[in-house]
């Protein structure tokens, strides 16, 4: 297993092979090749970026939050975290992180969960799981393939007694996280539309995704 650790701070956005701004509340998906560097930028700050990964060529292998937490022995995602699949393979490695903490326990918002969390009046509000389903359907998958995800830039501390809450984001405008793909992966993002909790500061904003070829670093 290769473990590529690349200094990525000086990467030039002009040299990215993919540079796309995901509008507030919208989904996105793209295949990232092994060795490429994937950056997510929290453009205006305090925006949760719900993200899933699938192995390109075999989508039944996909991101596993529990395998990731088990292997690294820590509840949060940050620099050095290896993002594992349900086969125990490393999909991507986080190589830089100017935010410092990302959640992978609290999953995505959905219309249905929103009714439970915030009241039945929130059923007809756009939600991350809707984004995920729309996006994975383009790749031949269904809701069945949507599993608990990573929430980049989302702060969900878990107390020793188990208490858990989504609290105010800690990502400043321009905060970014960089990952190196350790296999060819399909990345699927829901730029979270949630306005009922602080994960987006109650006001969703755009994020930017960039991909560089490995030799650019």
């Amino acid at each position: 297993m290769t473990f590529i650790c690349t200094p990525t701070e000086n990467l030039d956005p002009a040299k990215a092979v993919h540079d796309f701004t995901i509008a507030a509340t919208r989904p996105w998906s793209h295949v990232i090749k092994r060795g490429q560097i994937f950056r997510i930028v929290d453009v205006e700050g305090c925006q949760a970026v719900d993200t899933l990964f699938y192995r390109a060529g075999d989508f039944s292998e996909r991101y596993s939050a529990q395998d990731t937490l088990l292997a690294q022995g820590s509840a949060y995602v940050t620099t050095g975290t290896r993002l594992l699949s349900n086969e125990g393979n490393v999909m991507l490695t986080v190589v830089a992180d100017s935010c410092g903490r990302h959640d992978t326990s609290a999953g995505a918002c959905s219309c249905e969960a929103n009714t439970v969390r915030f009241g039945h009046h929130t059923r007809y509000m756009h939600a991350c799981r809707e984004n995920f389903v729309v996006e994975v359907t383009k790749w031949g998958m269904t809701k069945r393939d949507v599993v608990p995800n990573i929430n980049f830039f989302m702060n969900v501390p878990i107390d020793p007694d188990g208490r858990l809450a989504i609290v105010d984001g800690i990502s400043a405008p321009g905060a970014h996280v960089d990952m190196v793909a350790e296999m060819d992966v399909l990345a699927v993002i829901s730029n979270c539309p949630q306005v009922n909790n602080p994960c987006n500061g109650f006001d969703p904003t755009p994020v930017r995704v960039l991909i560089w070829d490995g030799e650019a670093a």
Binding site: S60, D67, R117, H120, R129, R144
Partner: protein, 273 residues
């Protein structure tokens, strides 16, 4: 919208969230019942439909009808029994660890809590529980974790057990997601690393789930990957029985506003049945 309007809207949403958080944080733990006594909640033996002894390291599958109960008896204090649940009528609806924790504002799922599906519905309620130490964050063992922990990837593990169990329902790897591990006293330390509370598990502990919809159940009896000591899983007993119907003030159904709304989403599936 003007800047002032936007700021006012954001402030209103924030206040609403803080009210919900205060209710979730402070109210629910007061409302939750105490743990079941180890000699409490005796089974009514003539209401038992099925009993199974699941050997250490093995898996089992069961179907539960709405209202039936599954009691897992940890007769020899084995550290960790993983469970996964599907809606029997539509297996794309299944246990969602993230929603279960987020909706109840806690990773701790003792007696009085419920297990949510990905559809905002309640799959099962934790109606009896002598131990109160269950893990929904880290999940079960894998060949890799057994290799790291015990130097042997061939030991029986929860990842493969869950795939085997799913296959017996005609389901596959795509139908699996994070599991809940009962009898697994895992906690998150201040620095984010995981701890294991010693001396919590005792022989004779049990946990009992009440099916809130017709369920397919997969059980893997493998040690939690963070459990100390050698790999030595012990047999557990699984009992399916017909417990009493929930009363109007049933604690699992009423402990929190979130549970109430979860059942408002669940019960209409069975209205008139």
């Amino acid at each position: 919208m003007t800047t002032t309007d936007k700021a006012a809207r954001i402030e209103a949403l924030r206040q609403r969230y803080l009210e919900l958080k205060a209710a979730g944080d402070d109210l629910a733990p007061k409302a939750l019942p105490p743990l079941t006594a180890r000699d409490g909640a005796p089974l009514t033996s003539n209401l038992v439909r099925q009993r199974e002894e699941i050997p250490g390291g093995w898996y089992w599958t069961a179907r539960l009808a709405r209202g039936e109960r599954l009691r897992l008896v940890n007769t020899q204090a084995t550290p960790g029994v993983a469970v996964f649940l599907w809606n029997a009528a539509d297996t794309s609806e299944r246990y969602n660890s993230a929603d279960t924790m987020k909706l109840q504002w806690t990773a701790a799922l003792p007696r009085g809590r419920v297990l949510f599906s990905d559809m905002g519905r309640v799959l099962a309620s934790v109606v009896e529980d002598t131990v109160g130490a269950h893990d929904s964050v880290v999940g079960g063992s894998t060949p890799a974790s057994n290799l790291r922990r015990y130097g042997d990837a061939a030991l029986r593990n929860t990842q493969e057990n869950m795939r085997l169990a799913a296959s017996k329902f005609g389901l596959g790897k795509r139908d699996l997601a994070p599991v809940i591990s009962f009898f697994s006293p895992v906690y998150v330390k201040e620095d984010g690393s995981f701890g294991w509370r010693d001396d919590v598990l005792a022989a004779g502990d049990f946990v009992e789930l009440r099916a809130e919809m017709d369920l397919l159940v997969a059980i893997s009896n493998c040690p939690h990957p963070f459990s100390p000591g050698a790999y030595a899983p012990q047999a557990i007993e699984a009992v399916i029985w017909q417990g009493p119907s929930p009363a109007g003030d049933d604690i699992c159904r009423t402990a929190t506003a979130e549970a109430v709304r979860g059942f408002e989403n669940t019960d209409p599936l069975f209205a008139g049945r």
